[in-house]
């Protein structure tokens, strides 16, 4: 299969970014919007064509999807260890290309309406293109170092876009928080990469992931504190992934990241960048699975399950609709992580891996739709808070309808997209680990409840009188909503298990009717509870909130994790560790240097009298020198 044209997929957004970035002041906003959209349309069509070609025509040999790479050496350390740049085509990178290009294209179209009249319109599109370029680069990376480079690039784009409203203090703080927290986690990632490079001698995914390769077979060669070093490296790499994917305990940046414009939240903090952590674990899945019997993979499963539960509980209590969606994203990412964690490798065993990728795919569609719908609502009422909304179904019929579709999809009601992928996840969890399965079912109920809580809160609930009558958004905003709604309905019918599997051989996935019935019933209970509580304005919800007492307060304050982090950094790290070090630096390190300077000045004060200005003194010194040299040379030459 000829794959060299796929290099154009990331390069087109890069060119668009450079174009819009360099001529930022000269391009009219109307033009820059079209440049962004058409640039992305070109690269999206290319990637869709490539995906079609790969999955249906030339990717399969004897029932197994092949891996194609094209790369060149970028940095050469030794003959075996070198960093390459190139593209790697396999089922998950193809699938991610499709996800990124569809969501990014929709968000570009949507932004033309949403950002209309904004001062930094061109800049916004430039940053979006930069992000899209980085994300394409990330999914196409051929080795750990390349993925790390693009990993940081998406981090930078995320930072730029969260801090897009740079006159708002909270946006600046959120941007810094997101960057610092993910960067802190990436430190683990970097160390993991270096350990793998040192012990296996390669960064290349194909070599590392080969189940018969030396990297996997020799995992027990060196151990450290009771675990193989490779397991340690994988845990460290997972820490990097957890930082990007907002897994507990690195989740604190994601809710604050909602300070960015809503299309950005939809693209970066719901559909694409935050799934980079899932993608990373999936990319190294054979290593996670085979090394030390999947020790690192178990950690992935438990962290994912805990994050899913934790975030879902917080999501119920939040009043800012974007924050509800942020915690919902975190919860669904936890789902994908736990699905990877409970997955096997061969054939039917690998259902968790398939389910995780499937859920990633469907989640990208309906969560982007939820965010864009929320953006449409915020655009209309100029507020993020549930208390300022209510009864909007009459004013915004298209937004209402598409939001409802997305809500049903995320709640896991058949036949919408979320049902199919969530069901596969629960099947995988049921076969592997009952505890995780129960957590998953419970979270499914919570998901249905919180998403319908905000749905009813926005579109039904109390009738409000608005200062400005809310209007339905323009076509540029509703068109992406409709496309994504269509995908949210239909994406579930894709037979994913034939395309994306751990061992790259397709298998037939069967619906497990009893498990599906349980999950659906739990989802319906969640919806009905939300219906009872929030359909009409009543005091039922307040009463139940009171019944939970302090627990409700803890959840609505996000279990005080921000405060704990602040305490640890400010009171312990800054005060007890950094403070004394700074004092030492000031007093002794700087003191030494300043002392040397002061002593030099003092000494020169003492001897400056030599420079007397009298010519005869100089002449005397000169002649005395000559005489001394003459005497010395006579002595040396004659003796």
């Amino acid at each position: 299969m000829n794959i060299s044209y796929i290099i154009l997929v990331p390069l087109i957004p890069l060119v668009v970014f450079l174009l819009l970035g360099i001529f930022n002041q000269k391009i009219k906003p109307a033009v820059s919007g079209y440049v962004g959209v058409f640039g992305l349309l070109a690269s999206a069509s290319l990637s869709l064509y490539a995906a079609y070609h790969y999955f249906f025509i030339s990717g399969k040999v004897d029932g197994t999807y092949q891996t194609f790479t094209e790369k060149s050496i970028w940095m050469n350390f030794t003959d075996a260890l070198h960093i390459d740049m190139g593209i790697l085509i396999d089922p998950i990178s193809m699938m991610m290309l499709v996800v990124v290009s569809i969501v990014s294209l929709m968000v570009h179209i949507y932004s033309r309406g949403y950002m209309k009249g904004d001062n930094g319109y061109t800049k916004f599109f430039a940053f979006l293109s930069l992000f899209t370029f980085s994300m394409y680069g990330l999914v196409l990376a051929t080795n750990l170092f390349q993925i790390y480079i693009f990993w940081e690039l998406v981090g930078v784009s995320s930072y730029l876009l969260i801090g897009y409203y740079y006159t708002k203090t909270s946006a600046i703080a959120a941007a810094k928080k997101a960057f610092i927290v993910t960067r802190f986690a990436d430190f683990g990632f970097l160390i993991g990469i270096l350990i793998i490079g040192f012990y296996t001698g390669t960064f290349d995914f194909e070599t590392l992931n080969n189940p018969e390769g030396s990297a996997i077979l020799n995992w027990a060669a060196t151990s450290f504190m009771g675990l193989s070093v490779i397991t340690w490296a994988l845990i460290l790499i997972f820490i990097g992934g957890a930082g990007k994917s907002a897994m507990f305990p690195f989740h604190i940046w994601l809710p604050d990241a909602m300070e960015g414009p809503t299309p950005v939240s939809a693209l970066i903090h719901a559909a694409t960048m935050v799934v980079a952590g899932i993608f990373l674990v999936a990319r190294l899945f054979p290593m996670f699975y085979f090394v030390e019997d999947g020790f690192a993979l178990n950690i992935v499963a438990y962290v994912g399950a805990f994050s899913a539960l934790f975030a879902a509980i917080i999501a119920i209590t939040q009043t800012d609709i974007k924050r509800v969606l942020a915690f919902s994203t975190m919860s669904q990412l936890g789902y994908m992580m736990l699905a990877l964690g409970v997955s096997g490798y061969d054939g039917q065993e690998g259902v968790g891996y398939m389910a995780s990728m499937f859920h990633l795919f469907t989640h990208a569609m309906f969560k982007a739709l939820l965010f864009l719908g929320a953006g449409s609502v915020i655009h209309a009422v100029h507020s993020n808070y549930l208390k300022d909304m209510g009864g909007l179904r009459k004013y915004m019929p298209i937004t209402n309808f598409t939001f409802l579709i997305a809500a049903i999809a995320i709640a896991g009601i058949p036949p919408f997209a979320g049902f199919w992928s969530k069901d596969e996840i629960l099947v995988a969890a049921y076969e592997h680990n009952k505890l995780i399965y129960y957590v998953g079912v419970f979270v499914a109920g919570l998901t249905a409840f919180y998403i319908f809580r905000i749905y009813f809160g926005i579109f039904w609930g109390k009738e409000k009188t608005y200062n400005h009558t809310p209007k339905e958004s323009p076509l540029s905003m509703t068109f992406p909503l409709m496309v994504l709604a269509f995908l949210s309905i239909t994406a579930g019918f894709i037979p994913f298990s034939e395309f994306v599997t751990a061992d790259k051989n397709g298998f037939d996935a069967h619906l497990n009717y009893s498990l599906a019935a349980i999950a659906t019933a739990v989802g319906l209970i969640g919806i009905i509870m939300a219906w009872v509580f929030y359909k009409k304005e009543n005091s039922l919800s307040d009463k139940y909130a009171k019944a939970f007492g302090p627990f409700y307060k803890w959840a609505s304050d996000k279990f005080y994790f921000d405060e704990i982090y602040m305490f640890v950094t400010k009171k312990i790290l800054f005060k007890r560790v950094s403070g004394p070090i700074a004092k030492f630096d000031n007093k002794y390190v700087d003191g030494t240097m300043v002392g040397i300077g002061n002593k030099t000045v003092w000494a020169s004060e003492k001897i400056k009298g030599i420079q007397s200005g009298k010519v005869q003194d100089y002449a005397f010194a000169f002649i005395a020198g000559v005489v001394v040299i003459a005497l010395v040379s006579i002595y040396l030459l004659t003796s």
Partner: protein, 105 residues
């Protein structure tokens, strides 16, 4: 070649002349006196040139020619020095060396 006088006596003479010049250069207070001392140093070396040429290499003339060069250049140098001293006198109404020590720390 002068009968009855060896090269050593003449070299002793020029050495004395040279160090008198050095002494004068270091101790005189008047710029003109310093200039005269410098001339004495120059003349000591001119005599050395001629003497060494005459006594050691009587067949060639380089030493003699060089002494003529030195005399010519010394004249130019003296003219320059005197010009500087006259200008200095116009500025500060003095040719004392102690009045010219402004170029210091």
């Amino acid at each position: 070649m002068i009968e009855g006088i060896s090269i050593y006596e003449i070299l002793t003479l020029t050495t004395i002349l040279f160090f008198i010049g050095i002494y004068g250069f270091l101790t005189r207070r008047n710029l003109i006196s310093i200039l005269i001392s410098v001339e004495m140093i120059l003349n000591a070396s001119v005599v050395n040139f001629v003497i060494i040429n005459k006594y050691l290499y009587p067949d060639v003339l380089q030493g003699v020619l060089f002494s003529i060069f030195i005399i010519a250049i010394a004249a130019a140098e003296t003219a320059l020095a005197v010009a500087i001293i006259i200008n200095l006198y116009r500025q500060i109404s003095s040719v004392e060396v102690k009045d010219t020590e402004v170029m210091k720390f």
